[in-house]
């Protein structure tokens, strides 16, 4: 009993380890830019601990530096993080048996990478036994948190940027791509990806990262439509 929990936890934890070259520089960039924008080290670290969502943290830092209205900053951050509600919906069926003392910490630990690794694992041929499934996700969450917070702290302490010529920011889309491609199992999923990606490219100019939300909704709708069409053709 204990060992299968530990096994699920370490499998989740280890699934995040290959992503570290993308995660740690991103966390460091968040720390460095917060200091450059004039945040105190305490506020920079506090934001990383309380918000724990890199893309929105970077947007907040940029808007704070530009002197934007707090209300605008708040809504921008929440809109950028709307995708977490989609991840939450996607994972919810797997956590429905858990009490609040599990659900709430698991929700706090939700990230892009943790979600992607977890859902790939749950949909794979060899997922963890139902009762221990949340331990895999918990492992991804602890790994992400354990990389993110020291990474931010290192960025705050260093206070100097990683040379832009290293292009380490490119590791982030590469990570997402490596997670996307194995998940393209059938034609409706492929349609969802093509429409989601295509709309995101066309709508990238929209303010507040709204293009991402629009693209996700379009992609999901296209996937549903493709699935319905295929079922009608077969039925």
């Amino acid at each position: 009993m204990q060992t299968s929990r530990l096994r699920a936890f370490s499998a989740g934890f280890m699934s995040i380890v290959p992503l570290m070259p993308g995660v740690i520089p991103f966390a460091m960039i968040c720390g460095v830019t917060a200091i450059k924008a004039g945040l105190s080290p305490q506020a920079a670290m506090g934001m990383s601990l309380i918000v724990f969502a890199g893309a929105s943290q970077l947007a907040v830092i940029q808007l704070l530096a530009a002197g934007a209205l707090p209300l605008v900053i708040f809504f921008t951050a929440v809109i950028i993080n709307l995708r977490f509600a989609m991840y939450s919906a996607s994972l919810a069926p797997y956590f429905q048996h858990l009490p609040k003392r599990w659900r709430w910490p698991l929700a706090y630990l939700l990230t892009d990478q943790g979600y992607a690794m977890t859902i790939n694992h749950y949909l794979s041929d060899k997922p963890t036994a139902d009762t221990h499934r949340h331990w895999f996700y918990f492992g991804t969450g602890i790994a992400m948190w354990g990389a993110w917070q020291p990474g931010t702290a290192a960025g705050i302490l260093l206070g100097s940027t990683i040379p832009a010529s290293w292009s380490l920011d490119f590791a982030i889309p590469l990570t997402f791509m490596a997670l996307l491609i194995p998940g393209l199992r059938d034609r409706p999923t492929l349609v969802a990806a093509l429409v989601g990606g295509g709309v995101a490219v066309l709508a990238a100019g929209l303010p507040f990262n709204l293009g991402l939300v629009l693209a996700a909704v379009s992609g999901i709708a296209a996937g549903l439509a493709a699935e319905t069409l295929m079922q009608r053709r077969e039925g």
Binding site: S88, G198, I220
Partner: protein
């Protein structure tokens, strides 16, 4: 540059953003089973990863500088396509990362040296 908010105001803003983000993360995880969701929502769930991940990836490859760039000058697109092939062949995150980063550095070195 410079933050016009007071220290207390900044902490309040950070706290509110944290609470808003937590509410989004918790939303469906908390209410699942307590509210009945329509069948279409259940069917839609499996398309979320493909749609969102593609939406995060493609703009970073096709609009790296902001404008749509499908030319050979877009080194990130070339490196990304190469990484996509490696991802298809190996299904391995680390190999994909290594191939994409190595390709970008090599291309940058070649273009920079020209």
């Amino acid at each position: 540059m410079g933050i016009s908010l007071s220290s207390a105001g900044l902490w309040l803003l950070i706290l509110l953003i944290g609470l808003g983000t937590f509410a989004l993360r918790l939303s469906f995880i908390h209410f699942w089973g307590r509210i009945e969701l329509p069948q279409i929502v259940h069917r839609a769930l499996r398309f979320i990863p493909a749609a969102v991940l593609a939406a995060l990836v493609l703009p970073a490859l096709i609009r790296p500088e902001g404008a749509i760039d499908l030319s050979l000058h877009n080194l990130r697109l070339i490196a990304g396509l190469l990484a996509a092939v490696v991802a298809m062949l190996t299904r391995n995150v680390l190999f994909t990362l290594a191939a994409g980063m190595a390709a970008l550095w090599l291309l940058q070195a070649l273009v920079g040296g020209a």
